[in-house]
């Protein structure tokens, strides 16, 4: 029997990439680091142009040395920040290293081309899941006794946020916001399932005008053991225009906050109940509040406040309340104002969790 020598396995070359996050109106993009040095700066002669006054004309250079990427600052005014520290001299980059150049964040990645292709495929799937959830969201309401607007920013890994609102009948308006545990397509699938049920009021035997009834029905339908270990928190409320009473319930969710004209501090609307899926047959409770004319209700996911600052500080809901209480900005939709505050408070780069911000105004 003839034996032929197997061809020598050719190792797939390592590729070096720079992912530049969207900033200053520039879209996110990916740049390959080739054998030649890559110059980065504000000036048009740079290989990578970052248009910002906080970036020097010739800011830094990245070159491959012995198979590793090395960044060198070129005496820039504001420095090249690598993983939070200013690079004083040439610095080797580990895959995943984050470079901050003015308002821009650049993430260095190295690996085999096939691995990047697989990762890109997963990222595309996640983006598709995010777009599907976004397609289920209701349009803003600019007229009527309840006005609604929102901002939804899915995270790279999809956090499982969802929300909705609408009229149950001519007098009663329902609104809700949910957050599925974990991240990824699984969380988005469960969020989409619940959103679809709530949108078309498809829980047999459930009184959708009663928050406690809705939470109990969801808890009966979505026990964690039967949902791949996933559970979700939700705030659900129903406003009656005839009585101006808002009946609401929370399941593992932080409060909604109501701003009342003349009151400086936001009023928390909260009832203590476990998240949906954690405790079978839980007797969910609800509460009521009278809604004065001109009141504004904020519903938001924990991604809006559980952010990490540029200094590495973990923020909590208490840090977000002054943002809610701050005066509106003329010409800027309230959810957009809140989103900009969240973005400004958090460290550079993509956020770890979905951010959902819903604002309801009661005429």
């Amino acid at each position: 029997m003839l034996r032929r020598a197997a061809p020598a396995a050719v190792a797939e070359p390592i590729v070096h990439l720079l992912d530049i996050d969207a900033a200053e109106g520039e879209p996110a993009r990916r740049v390959a680091i080739g054998p030649g040095p890559l110059t980065i700066g504000r000036g048009a002669q740079s290989d990578v142009v970052l248009p910002s006054g906080d970036v020097s004309r010739s800011h830094c250079i990245i070159a491959l040395e012995d198979g590793a990427a090395v960044v060198t600052d070129l005496g820039s005014t504001n420095g090249t920040i690598v993983d939070g520290r200013r690079a004083d001299g040439p610095q080797r980059l580990a895959s995943g290293a984050r470079l901050a150049l003015g308002p821009f964040t650049l993430v260095y990645r190295s690996g085999r081309a096939a691995e990047f292709a697989r990762t890109e495929e997963v990222e595309k799937d996640l983006a598709r899941a995010g777009r599907y959830v976004a397609a289920l969201l209701p349009p803003p309401l600019a007229d009527g006794p309840v006005r609604a607007d929102w901002r939804f920013v899915p995270s790279t890994n999809i956090g499982g946020d969802g929300f909705g609102y609408g009229w149950l009948d001519e007098n009663r308006f329902a609104a809700w916001l949910l957050d599925v545990s974990g991240h990824g397509v699984g969380s988005a699938l469960l969020a989409a399932s619940v959103m679809n049920l709530l949108r078309v009021h498809s829980l047999p035997g459930t009184d959708f005008t009663d928050a406690a009834s809705v939470l109990a029905a969801l808890n009966d339908r979505f026990q964690m053991d039967r949902q791949g270990g996933l559970y979700f928190s939700i705030w659900y409320g129903v406003y009656d225009v005839r009585t101006r009473i808002l009946g609401f319930g929370c399941a593992g969710q932080h409060p909604g906050f109501m701003m009342v004209p003349g009151d400086a501090a936001p009023h928390p609307l909260w009832v203590k109940n476990p998240a949906v899926g954690l405790a079978p047959d839980w007797p969910y409770r609800r509460a009521e509040v009278v809604v004065p004319p001109g009141a504004r209700l904020h519903l938001f996911s924990d991604g809006a406040f559980e952010v990490i600052t540029p200094d590495g500080l973990q923020l909590t809901i208490g840090d977000f309340l002054p943002v809610l209480a701050a005066p509106p900005v003329h010409g800027l939709a309230e959810p957009e104002r809140l989103w900009r505050a969240v973005r400004n408070a958090s460290r550079a780069g993509p956020l770890d969790d979905d951010v959902s911000l819903v604002t309801l105004d009661f005429v």
Partner: protein, 113 residues
């Protein structure tokens, strides 16, 4: 995310967690944590004094472990949650499902009650 196991005969097993119990931290410790609870065959104390953050997957890990203990006829008691973590426990009503005590002495008293 780290876990320290204190296993002394005749006393509840003590599992001390340190770090952030976010998605990454939970993934790192979840299997070992669950295995320790399953193997304990007695009451379990979970020391949270070194945990600075708990996310939704961390909550799931604690609840799943408490169910394992409960099915075996034992208690799982959490103690030492930092204020921000205690606020998360309260929001999600974890303290209605699992005993959450301020310190180890109170946790031991809860087990003996």
């Amino acid at each position: 995310m780290d876990m320290v196991v204190v296993d002394v005969a005749g006393a509840p097993k003590r599992l001390g967690l340190t770090g952030r119990l976010d998605a990454g931290g939970t993934e790192k410790v979840e299997v070992a944590f669950g295995a320790q609870v399953r193997a304990a065959q007695r009451h379990v104390l979970v020391d949270m004094t070194g945990v600075s953050f708990v996310g939704s997957l961390g909550i799931r890990m604690l609840i799943a472990a408490a169910r394992v203990s409960d099915r075996g006829g034992f208690k799982l008691v959490i103690f030492g949650a930092q204020p921000a973590v205690a606020e998360v426990f309260r929001t999600i009503a974890l303290d209605d499902l699992i005993p959450v005590m301020p310190d180890e002495a109170a946790a031991l008293a809860q087990i003996q009650a």
